[in-house]
């Protein structure tokens, strides 16, 4: 009896082992690539931020020295400040524009498909191409179409846009809103379509006008969506790089203090100055910010799940 049981047990264990192996064979192709080229470098990033390294000589551990250095570097503090300013303006403007677009496109009218495509296309269009047009539309010269509009329609002085330190961020923010609002519009559309028609009908019977319906039904019902969009937008704003490179980078891609952002600073310290420790330390600062935002999202999601 006992011998029979162990034989059965052995058999079961062998089967389980075989099942494990089959499962691992499914995961292996992706996981090996993922572990070697993503997980590994993440651990390395942590190590490097506490070391001094130029990429060729040996690594030397220096404790928190890199962090002390970057926080006393003018370019780093500018980058941090600019990234925060960029986020503070880009997040709410994009959010409001995306919501407005979504509400307009959620009406029962003809042609919404066309308008939706139009609003979404800038998001998929490659950045280099659209930034090239943007640079020509917003050229500091008087002949630029936007400056013409300023002078002839609004009767104000032309602006230098990306060429001036006082308007470069404005130009970057406007471009970012224009390019990305279609993406968040799609998220809002899905949120709007999840709101029950009955709520609006009941409100109509009670004599509510359009604004009251928006204020007391749409906005509260969209709260989880707005929360999600805010988080995503904030994280994406802190990762901004290529927009700045294309609009403010000039021909050699060098960005001055008025427009430098965190990821640009990382890029510059690593691949122009080969100060890899400092680059990693600033990358860790970026990570810390994104992590805080993500943790807020985790908590928020739990709240909404409980509702």
């Amino acid at each position: 009896m006992a011998a029979e049981l162990t034989a059965m047990e052995k058999n079961m264990r062998r089967r389980q082992r075989k099942r494990n192996l089959v499962a691992y064979s499914f995961i292996a192709p992706n996981f090996i690539g993922f572990a070697v080229f993503t997980l590994g470098p993440i651990v390395l990033a942590l190590l490097m931020s506490f070391a001094e390294w130029d990429g060729s000589n040996t690594m030397k551990f220096v404790g928190f020295n890199n962090f002390v250095q970057i926080f006393s570097d003018d370019r780093f503090t500018s980058a941090l400040k600019n990234t925060i300013i960029y986020s503070i303006f880009t997040v709410p403007i994009t959010l409001v524009m995306a919501l407005a677009l979504a509400i307009l496109l959620n009406q029962k009218i003809k042609g919404t498909n066309f308008f939706r495509t139009v609003a979404f296309f800038p998001y998929v269009a490659s950045l280099v191409a659209v930034a090239a047009v943007w640079n020509m539309l917003f050229t500091p010269a008087k002949g630029g179409i936007v400056n013409q509009l300023l002078m002839n329609v609004l009767h104000v002085a032309p602006l230098k846009w990306a060429a001036s330190s006082s308007t470069v961020m404005l130009t970057i923010i406007m471009f970012s809103v224009w390019k990305n609002m279609g993406y968040y519009m799609v998220i809002y559309l899905a949120g709007l379509q999840g709101i029950s028609e009955d709520l609006y009908e009941a409100a109509s019977l009670d004599g509510a006008n359009a604004w009251q319906k928006f204020r007391h039904i749409t906005v509260p019902q969209l709260k989880p969506t707005t929360f999600f969009v805010t988080i995503m937008l904030t994280i994406n704003c802190f990762k901004v790089y290529d927009i700045v490179y294309m609009l403010a980078g000039g021909s050699n891609g060098v960005v001055n203090k008025s427009a430098i952002v965190l990821v640009y600073y990382i890029y510059e310290e690593a691949f122009r100055n080969w100060k890899l420790g400092r680059a990693s330390a600033s990358a860790l600062v970026l990570f810390a910010i994104v992590l805080v935002v993500t943790l807020i999202q985790f908590r928020g999601e739990k709240n909404y799940a409980n509702d």
């Binding site: 099942r19 996981f31 490097m48 490659s126 191409a129 659209v130 047009v133 279609g182 969506t225 802190f238």
Partner: protein
């Protein structure tokens, strides 16, 4: 009753006016791009701007191919995009099947490793990743760009989420019929997951085609460059060749435009899949 009807008409008119204004805002840069691409450089900034050039200069679209190795850039980008998309589809749907439908030791731990990295932006580890690739002599190779893009956690997530929605009983029945797990994956799951695969295709395609920072860091030899950084290089070198820059820009947008128009609904599905939570 009559006033209600007129109200609705007024409301609809306002909606249309706003929509048309927004559509103009979104479209004007593209129309300007096409228009400028058909002009001599000296005519691009002439006031008032000529939206439809009287004598379109199609020559720009011929000259651009000889001015820069545009064909080479396009070929490089197409090659990278196709390989990355295929690898991404294969490896992530494969791994997602195990995570969704198989019981095995360490499943939760392994999946946690994927979840944890979602919170880490690529920009945080791009520097050590580059140093690691360089030590493998992969700097300035297309293989590096492929590796960079092919194993994202996003694909595994998306596919797993979809597979979870397919009833387990389907797999159980196939197992009883004597099918191996590989057969179940290939003959049952893959054919069922066309919508999720399409979403993954369009996301990977657009991301790889438009990727900027990756190729900028890795690819230094001109003949290896992708369309995006090749185009940026051209803009830097010939900043006053407005007509040609716009012609090249229009050409670089065409493939994405075609993929986007034909697979649009899957794009929308992908975005909302990431946002709608329990």
């Amino acid at each position: 009753m009559k006033s209600k009807k007129t109200n609705r008409i007024i409301g609809q008119t306002i909606v249309y006016v706003l929509l048309i204004l927004l559509a103009l805002l979104m479209l004007v840069p593209f129309v300007w791009m096409i228009s400028a691409s058909l002009k001599f450089n000296k005519d691009v900034f002439v006031i008032p701007f000529e939206w439809i050039p009287k004598a379109p200069r199609w020559q720009n679209y011929i000259d651009i191919w000889t001015k820069i190795p545009l064909a080479k850039f396009t070929l490089n980008t197409a090659k990278l995009t196709i390989i990355v998309t295929l690898l991404q589809l294969l490896t992530s749907s494969f791994a997602a099947y195990a995570f969704a439908k198989l019981e095995f030791k360490g499943r939760n731990l392994l999946f946690l490793a994927y979840v944890a990295t979602i919170a880490v932006p690529w920009q945080v580890y791009m520097v050590p990743q580059f140093m690691f690739m360089r030590s493998l002599h992969l700097a300035d190779t297309h293989l590096a760009i492929i590796i960079l893009q092919a194993f994202s956690a996003f694909g595994v997530f998306l596919m797993r989420q979809f597979y979870e929605g397919i009833p387990d009983s389907l797999c159980e029945a196939a197992r009883i019929d004597g099918m191996s797990e590989y057969e179940i994956y290939a003959k049952i799951m893959l054919p069922l997951s066309k919508p999720a695969l399409s979403t993954l295709i369009i996301f990977t395609f657009v991301n790889t085609w438009n990727d900027f920072l990756g190729p900028l860091i890795y690819l230094t030899t001109e003949s290896k460059k992708t369309l995006q950084i090749g185009l940026k290089m051209f803009i830097s070198q010939y900043s006053a060749e407005y007509g040609l820059i716009m012609a090249a820009s229009v050409l670089s947008l065409i493939p994405v435009f075609i993929v986007f128009i034909s697979l649009q609904k899957y794009f929308v599905a992908g975005i909302t899949a990431g946002s709608v939570k329990g």
